[in-house]
């Protein structure tokens, strides 16, 4: 590597003595870089290109595994059919509603819990383990424990609690299906946000806090002027990672409501699954797949930029 390159990447390669880069090393490093990097790059390249091209191709063909005789190019027909499918628009709305609500709950809840757990209290380490635990529970387990044991309208624990309080038990997944799914998914992802934000909050310089206290900052101005700005970057990271996972939530819906009642909890992921692997309509499902990719890209263009500027911020330090 020549030195201008190295200066372009200060964070990646500071501290390397310039004198060491002889011509032999430069040749060796280019070669090493290529062949060591290629297995990972080639597999990811294949993974990100081949299936996507196939999805695009399927999306403009008639292709149903149940009627293999009817096939061929149909142009944008699948897109027109999908658009007029009564469950399509609700599925987009549900996907965005689920993603947005869980993000809001987990970030706001995560920040508040992190501030609380940043204080000294008895048994803090153990209490923290309890709070992060749901993140390690596999999605099918958490969905079924909630559905059967907590939310069940007759035997569930919430129903029993409401009975005890003299209230009418609620059929959560029947009457408030989306709310219930949001609750289950938030239960899994709030601990994640909490874990990340607590780590970030604890890296706040105690001297900075003391200085602010001496200057007479109360708890609120402390939170808004010291803690929150310090957490900005960590919040950005939480939003980004959770968005990736939340846009394709599937197992929780598959095991609890199967998209119902009606289309109340049909997300784009579930709609594509049911078109493709339940109705075996590869063409339509692929069309949905393309729209899922477009939706994720709209979100990610914005998110990758944020991450890139975060990285730059780190390089400057």
């Amino acid at each position: 590597m020549n030195s201008p390159t190295r200066e372009a990447l200060p964070a990646v390669d500071s501290g390397r003595p310039h004198a060491a880069s002889t011509a032999r090393h430069a040749r060796k490093s280019v070669w090493t870089q290529r062949w060591l990097l290629s297995p990972a790059v080639i597999s990811l390249l294949l993974w990100s290109v081949v299936p996507l091209l196939m999805t695009i191709y399927f999306s403009v063909t008639r292709y149903n595994l149940l009627s293999p005789d009817e096939s061929g190019f149909v142009g944008l027909d699948n897109y027109r059919f999908l658009w007029s499918d009564p469950s399509f628009l609700p599925s987009i709305a549900n996907t965005l509603l689920l993603t947005g609500s869980v993000l809001l709950i987990s970030v706001v809840g995560g920040v508040l819990l992190a501030v609380l757990f940043d204080q000294e209290f008895f048994g803090r380490g153990i209490a923290r383990l309890l709070v992060i635990a749901p993140f390690f529970v596999m999605p099918t387990v958490s969905a079924l424990i909630w559905k059967n044991m907590l939310l069940h309208p007759v035997y569930g624990l919430l129903a029993a609690a409401m009975h005890a309080l003299g209230l009418q038990p609620v059929d959560w997944l029947g009457q408030y299906p989306m709310f219930s799914i949001i609750m289950i998914v938030s239960w899994q992802w709030l601990p994640f946000a909490f874990l990340i934000l607590l780590t970030a909050i604890q890296s706040l310089d105690p001297e900075q806090k003391e200085a602010a206290q001496i200057d007479g900052a109360g708890p609120f101005s402390m939170f808004f002027y010291i803690v929150l700005p310090h957490l900005k970057r960590a919040i950005g990271v939480v939003v980004m990672i959770e968005t990736i996972f939340l846009l394709s939530i599937f197992a929780e819906i598959y095991t609890t409501t199967a998209g119902g009642p009606g289309t109340a909890t049909t997300t784009l992921s579930f709609l594509i699954y049911s078109m493709g692997l339940q109705q075996f309509d590869v063409g339509m499902a692929s069309t949905g797949g393309i729209l899922a990719v477009v939706l994720a890209n709209i979100v990610s263009v914005f998110l990758v930029r944020m991450l890139a500027s975060n990285l730059k911020g780190e390089n400057e330090q």
């Binding site: 990447l9 060591l36 609380l116 000294e120 992060i132 079924l144 424990i145 990736i244 994720a296």
Partner: protein, 273 residues
């Protein structure tokens, strides 16, 4: 007054934080309790009962639990090894021989994570079906590795960046080749980091439930799929559901607890440490 004030504050914080912690943990606690009940006791919602291992015995006797658990173990270990095998050389090359495009490559790898799995569900399903990978352990290992490779590369990269470059340089000048450099210097020095990378891969592949549900049915099905089968009326056998769930969740939860600090770094691609 100040001492009393801070004592009061300590007490209130303890009370509030513990109530919230118990509230969050409650579903897991309830699952643990229920797994030691009989099916009749499970419906009585009481916490006072004679603990029994009956449900665990029935889970083992009536289902092929060990084969599902075996699949989960094989898949998770396979993914961890294969991902590290691909990620370590790539991260080494980017950390120690950065080129003009290194940062772009890293961001591009990250961006492959943005592709929603469901966008390629149909092609992958058909490819796997036609090549005999459907419902095989290796089929799932391949797909999980592709999904998690960007995380593995990123984590290994951030750990390698902390290794002093002078040491590797000195070895190189003394005539060490690339393999010696990686195996004798880099890996031992970054072992804790690589271990936590492996741990994160293990946890993510153990809990993955989109591809396992769609690409496996019986032969290669891991625990996520086995538990999903309880969404049928079987789910009303609460004690058995709880016992099976506890067995599926407990080992990975313990690992997650032990590795919480390192997980933060891995899950945030090194942005939060």
């Amino acid at each position: 007054m100040s001492v009393a004030h801070s004592r009061l504050r300590y007490g209130i914080t303890t009370a509030v934080a513990w109530s919230l912690a118990i509230l969050v943990f409650f579903p897991i606690f309830w699952m643990m309790i229920t797994s030691f009940k009989t099916e009749e006791q499970a419906y009585q919602l009481s916490v006072i009962f004679q603990p029994t291992l009956q449900s665990f015995r029935e889970v083992f006797a009536r289902s092929d639990y060990l084969s599902f658990a075996g699949n989960s173990i094989a898949i998770s270990l396979g993914v961890t090894l294969l991902s590290l095998l691909l990620a370590i050389p790539a991260a080494y090359s980017m950390a120690f021989f950065p080129g003009p495009r290194t940062q772009k490559i890293l961001l591009w790898m990250m961006s492959t994570k943005m592709m929603p799995s469901v966008g390629v569900l149909l092609p992958v399903y058909l490819l796997w079906k036609n090549s005999g990978l459907l419902d095989t352990v290796s089929g799932l290992i391949i797909i999980y590795t592709l999904i998690n490779l960007p995380i593995a590369v990123w984590m290994a990269f951030t750990y390698f960046c902390e290794v002093p470059k002078e040491i590797l340089e000195a070895a190189r000048i003394d005539g060490a080749n690339t393999w010696q450099e990686i195996f004798h210097l880099l890996l031992p020095m970054s072992l804790p980091g690589l271990a936590s990378t492996g741990l994160l891969l293990l946890i993510l592949s153990w809990n993955e439930a989109f591809w396992s549900i769609n690409l496996s049915s019986s032969h290669a099905a891991p625990l996520t799929v086995f538990i999903a089968s309880y969404s049928s009326p079987e789910g009303l056998f609460w004690a058995k559901l709880s016992a099976a769930s506890l067995l599926a969740v407990a080992p990975i939860m313990v690992l997650g607890w032990l590795a919480q600090k390192q997980l933060v770094r891995g899950l945030t691609f090194g942005a939060v440490k």
